[in-house]
Every structure is written in structure tokens, then in C-alpha cells.
Subunit: 397 residues, 2 copies
């Protein structure tokens, strides 16, 4: 009998740490490496479950922080859990809620036992502990859940990172102890900031807990790409080979290649859908911002040869018009295109690993794809964070 | 040979003025009576052309005022016209642009020759004359276009209505003279405010121009429903029986029944899509506002037995969550449901006329459907107008 839960490693690249596998869950299989779109509030912004199925999405991430506040885990449990609530019958992963709470510096107080914070929706006071995070995630009922960790801000010093890492490890144990549902996989989160020895310690410690999977957190939070790659290089070899590895919150095209090459199996990221709503489309040559006036009369599709609905049916001129006129269809079409682009890229990557030509594909792709440089990336991040604060929203999709 | 253009009357109700017909256009047939969703900016807000086709939409209305300002008629003409631009291969009707310009009281100046106005988008000055309206509509390339008329505000006095009605008639002649494309039908617009003799004069005068179709304007602008019905009663019998009749900007369920019963063939209205974006769903019992907290845990669909995607796949609880969390999927699903409701109702009405049981269907529907009363309707209209002014937007969808 095939196990309804677990991870099968199918193939490994001979020239990198890249690997192909299959994750089994009560709601079906997830072929890895995989990209999971983010559905913060139990919806991948602008899309319907039917569209996600047609795009070939096999895993969706939902945010515990947001769903805990609105509509509340009791409501979702009463409606039969997240799958039934949002009409999505394929696998779901929920995060712990920690990332959002820690990012709201002005609204939360941390202690050894947990975090007290105010809701960004109505200002009400809430408490998040390892036990509470697991209880909420059990009510939501995702296939994969994540242990509550402490996310220190980027550039915090070694001593601070060392101290809070111990807390992350203790909380992982408390989560493991609190978790009762046998139809959910619990992932632990490797932390340690940008300090290789702390990352190594974290990987070793969490491995000793023999969890069904491992997430890597606290990366792509403002550090240079090289630092992120270095942290992956020192962490992943210490994680067990037969367990899935999830790089939290990372998902630009170049990051997918670099992560896969280092042995990552699962990625989730709001980037493709968030930049879509700003009129930015992924193409094989880099990002294309449709607001640029050069596209005003352009009858060509965003990307020649792309098989997505947006490229098959509409011109750059029409897409530009929709985005400039703030029409929802523009946001929808950009989202569909970007998800199609990323999911298609991931399928190509998977096939290339199976056919033993992943390094060639990586080189070919990155030679024509213009990567947004660190400086622009950090400026964009700052603008985004400021916008979030001004809108009283919190990090999500 | 079947004419590629024209109107065939197929059947008439024996107990009312209701009728069934078929409108032939270069982009296909439109079975009448028909409801046309409004796609102000070359998109029916939140929906894709594919979804509209699946809903059975056979005619879409686009607004000349908005498209003239953004992206501009030259852009649309260069992209091959409105059908090609927006990816909609079925029939389209454009209005004259007059309604929006006249509604922007603080931004326009009227003279005998036309109107000078400022753009609500960028403040730039523009001129709208009968010839300009036709030229723009020829560039847009819809199947049905509408003559520029003067829309006096509701409650303006008899003398004012009498004077501007002469202008409407002169402008209709100028439009007819200016119109050169042979693949477009030009509809004239009957005006005359709430004055029966002016309405009659207008119907007679426009009929004398032998236009391919007639629109009735200046109704549902704040007057009681009885007044609207009375105006239809005195106007429609004076219009030629073999030409299609379009009631501009009207389309609530009860209005469809009352309009059809008086001999209207075409309706267009932003109401079903606009109230959808406010979380209001049509049901056979009346309007349902999903924001109501009573739906928080409700596992039932919006309407039991409804075959639309929203009702087939999602609970009231989930739809409420989406709307409360300001998620685009909520706006999309409400829009799909309301369009499905109205289009389905129109199909039922058409079949009932063919089967000689329209009066029974009308009575049955209206006995269970709770109509929003005039007072609430006018309050809503005032709120909507104030919102429009505050947002610097203009009337549209």
C-alpha cells in the first residue's frame, strides 16, 4: 500500500543538490520541486480555485495570522476546514502566524512563552504561543503546518540571534508536543539569521526532533542574495535527505533556480502575485512593467509563445489600458500570467533534473533573464514595507 | 439570403406589449429581449470575456465618454477596434458619451453646437459635438452606436425640457448625417423628461428620421417607478414596431419585467455589477447583502438551486469572508452571480413570451421578489452620486 503521507525522493541531479520528489498528503500528491502561491486570506488574490487548478497549482499556502483574526478559526472549522471553506481540494500549507506578528514591531510584545499583539483589523488584543499556533492550525486543517518560530529582524546582532534561536528550538518542541492531528505534517523552521554556525546548530537541533519536514526561515528579508545562498549552503547538507525542505517566502525566478540547485523542494512567495497587481509581468527576459508608455499601442502579447490566457487573448496595449484604468481584469490577467510563468518554469526545472540537464537549463535561463539587482530589490522592499505600515496592513500577499 | 443587419420580430405576447425578436449584427445575433452588461472601460468590471461568453452574454455596452479619454479612440482603432481590443467577438453597443458629460455639472459648458468639458482623469479640456461623438464611435467600431442627445436633469421644468428637446432632435439629424460606416446601426434617443407630450413629440420626430433603432433616455434618474412606467406607456406605441427599442440605463429585475411588458427589447444597466461590488446578491426573494453578520457561519449557497459558479462552489460564509476582507474574488463571484441571475431571468422571460405565459411569470416572480422601495432607491442613488463626486469619477459602471 502506498503511504498516504510522506515524501518520496525520485531523482537527484548529478551536478548540484537539485532533486525531484513527490510529497504525499491526504489531499493528494505534490510533485517537487514545487512553487506554492500564497492565499493569505483563504484566496490567492484575484484568482478562483478553478483557475488555480487549470494552472496546475498543487499546493497553496494560507496565513494563520490573517485567518485567525478574520474570519476566525472557529468559523473555518465549523465550515469543515480550510479546504471546504475556500473550495480548494488539493493540498494546503499554513504558516505559524509568527512572521506577521514579529514584523508588526509597534503592535507586539514578546516574552519567553509567546507574543502578545494587537490585531491590525480592529486593534483587539491577542496572544500567540506555540500551543495556540498549533491549535489554530489544527482548526484550519491544512495538510502541512509549521511550528512557531522567532524571526529576528535582519541585521540583529549575533548575541540576539543566539538567544532567540534557543527560544525557536524550545517552541518547536512545544509545537511537536501540542500537535494532535495525525493527518497533518508538522514542519520545523531553521533560523539563525546570517550566522553560519547558528544556522548549522539550528539544522542539527531540529533534525534531532525527527520532524516530517523542514522549513528555512528568516531569509530574503533584506540581505544580499549571496548571503542567502551561503546560508542555504551551510544549512541544507545538515538536514535529512529523506525529508522535504521548504524555503519560506522566496520565489523570484532566479531564487527558484538557486534554491533548487541547493536542494530546496518547496517554495512559497507572494512576489509573483504582488508584483502582478502593480502591473509587472514576468518574461523570459526579465520583468516587464506594463505601465510603461511604450506599450500604449503595442499589439503583441506580453510574451510571444506564452500559452496563458492573458497572452493568448490580449495585447500589451489592452493590458496596459486595464492597469492604467485600475480595472480588476488587469490585476487578474497579470496574476494568471505570473503564476503560469512560475509554475511552468518549475515544471521545466523538474523535467530538466529528471533528464539530467538542470545545470544547462539554469545557465540558459539566467543568461537571458535580467535579474532585478539588490539595490532595486531593497528599495522596492522598503517602499512595500512603508506602504504596508501606512495602510495598517501586515505582511502577507 | 439572411440580412446580416436588422431586426426580426418573432413573437408577440397576447396580453401585453412584450415581444420576442432577434437583432442581426456583423458580430452575430442578439436574441431579444436582452440584458446587456455594462463594460464602461472596455471591460465588464471584474469579469473576463470568456466568463461573459459562458454566462451567455450576447451584447455588451461600452462607454464612449470613458474610452474617448482613456486609452483614446485612436489607440483602439489602431488595435483593430473595440472587439479586437477587448477580446470580445460578440456584438457591442457604445453610447454617445452625452450622459456622462451632462452629469458632470461642475465640469462642463453646454452651447447649441455641443458641450465643452474637462476630463475627470487629468483635467484636460475636450469638446463633444454630434459629429465628434459619431467620429469617436466609428473609431471604436461597435455594432450599434447611439446619437448624441441632451440629458436634462430630473425635475428640470417643462420650458427647459422643451427647449433642449429641440436640440436633441437637431443633434440626432446631425449624427445621422455624420455617420458613414455601413456596418453600424445608429440608434436615436427619445427624451422629453417626465412630460408626456414632449415624450410623444420626441418619439414622433425620431420615427420620422427612419433610424434603425430607438433608445429611450432620461429615465430611472430619480423619478418614481410609476412615472417611468407612464413615460414608457406614452412613448413606445408611437415607435415603429419593426425597429428595436432600448431602454437606457435600466436593469433591476422588476424593471426588466415592467419594461418588457411595455415593449422594450434591449436593456443595459450597471446596477447588477455595481451592487455586486458592494456585496449585494440578487435572489428570487430580493436583494441579499452578504455583509450581514447573520451569514457569518452560513454553509448554504447564496441561492439554493442556482447553477452559477459562486452558488455551486461556495458558501455564504466564505463569500461574506471575501467581501469583508476586501478580496477581489468576492467581487468577482458576486458579479458572476448577479449577471447569471439577470441573464437567466431574461431567458425565462423570453421563453415565457414564446410560450404565451409571460403575465403569469411576471406575477409569480414579483409576488416573491421584494422590490427595493423608491425611498431606499433614491437614498442609494444619492449616496452613489456623492461617492462619484468625492472620488472624482463619473457615472459609469
Amino acid at each position: 500500500m502506498v503511504a498516504s503521507f510522506g515524501f518520496d525522493l525520485e531523482s537527484k541531479c548529478r551536478h548540484s543538490w537539485a532533486r525531484v520528489g513527490e510529497l504525499h498528503t491526504p489531499h493528494g500528491k505534490v510533485p517537487t520541486p514545487v512553487f506554492a502561491p500564497v492565499g493569505t486570506q483563504a484566496t490567492v488574490k484575484t484568482t478562483s480555485p478553478q483557475e488555480l487548478e487549470e494552472l496546475g497549482v498543487s499546493l497553496v499556502v494560507a496565513n494563520t495570522y490573517h485567518l485567525n483574526l478574520r474570519p476566525g478559526p472557529e468559523v473555518i472549522a465549523r465550515l469543515g476546514g480550510l479546504h471546504s471553506f475556500m473550495g480548494w481540494q488539493r493540498p494546503i500549507l499554513t504558516d505559524s502566524g509568527g512572521f506577521q506578528v514579529f514584523s508588526m514591531e509597534h503592535l507586539r510584545k514578546i516574552d519567553g512563552d509567546g507574543v502578545t499583539f494587537r490585531s491590525h483589523v480592529d486593534g483587539s488584543e491577542h496572544r500567540l504561543t506555540p500551543e495556540r499556533s498549533i491549535a489554530v492550525q489544527e482548526q484550519l486543517g491544512a495538510d502541512i503546518i509549521v511550528a512557531l518560530d522567532v524571526c529576528p529582524p535582519y541585521r540583529s546582532d549575533y548575541e540576539h540571534n543566539r538567544v532567540v534561536l534557543q527560544r525557536t528550538h524550545l517552541w518547536a518542541e512545544r509545537c511537536l508536543k501540542a500537535h494532535t492531528r495525525t493527518d497533518q505534517m508538522l514542519f520545523g523552521v531553521v533560523q539563525g539569521g546570517t550566522y553560519p554556525d547558528l544556522r548549522g546548530e539550528s539544522a542539527r537541533y531540529l533534525t534531532s526532533l525527527d520532524l516530517p519536514g523542514y522549513a528555512i526561515g528568516g531569509l530574503s528579508v533584506g540581505e544580499p542574495k549571496e548571503t542567502m545562498h551561503h546560508m542555504l549552503d551551510v544549512t541544507i547538507p545538515l538536514l535529512p535527505e529523506d525529508k522535504p525542505r521548504h524555503l519560506l517566502g522566496v520565489g523570484s525566478p532566479e531564487d527558484l533556480f538557486e534554491g533548487v540547485a541547493r536542494g530546496i523542494d518547496i517554495f512559497d512567495c507572494a512576489l509573483p502575485t504582488r508584483i502582478a497587481r502593480n502591473g509587472t509581468f514576468f518574461t523570459s527576459e526579465g520583468r516587464l512593467n506594463i505601465r510603461n508608455s511604450r506599450y500604449k499601442d503595442d499589439p503583441a502579447p506580453v510574451e510571444e509563445g506564452c500559452s496563458c490566457y492573458a497572452c493568448q487573448q490580449f495585447s500589451r496595449a489592452y493590458l496596459r489600458h486595464l492597469v492604467m484604468a485600475k480595472e480588476i481584469l488587469g490585476l487578474r490577467l497579470a496574476t494568471l500570467h505570473n503564476l503560469h510563468f512560475i509554475l511552468n518554469l518549475m515544471r521545466e526545472i523538474r523535467t530538466a533534473i529528471l533528464e539530467d540537464r538542470f545545470p544547462t537549463l539554469k545557465e540558459q535561463f539566467l543568461s537571458s533573464y535580467k535579474v532585478v539587482d539588490d539595490e532595486v530589490r531593497m528599495r522596492d522592499r522598503k517602499i512595500w514595507l512603508n506602504k504596508l505600515r501606512a495602510s495598517k496592513e501586515v505582511a502577507g500577499d
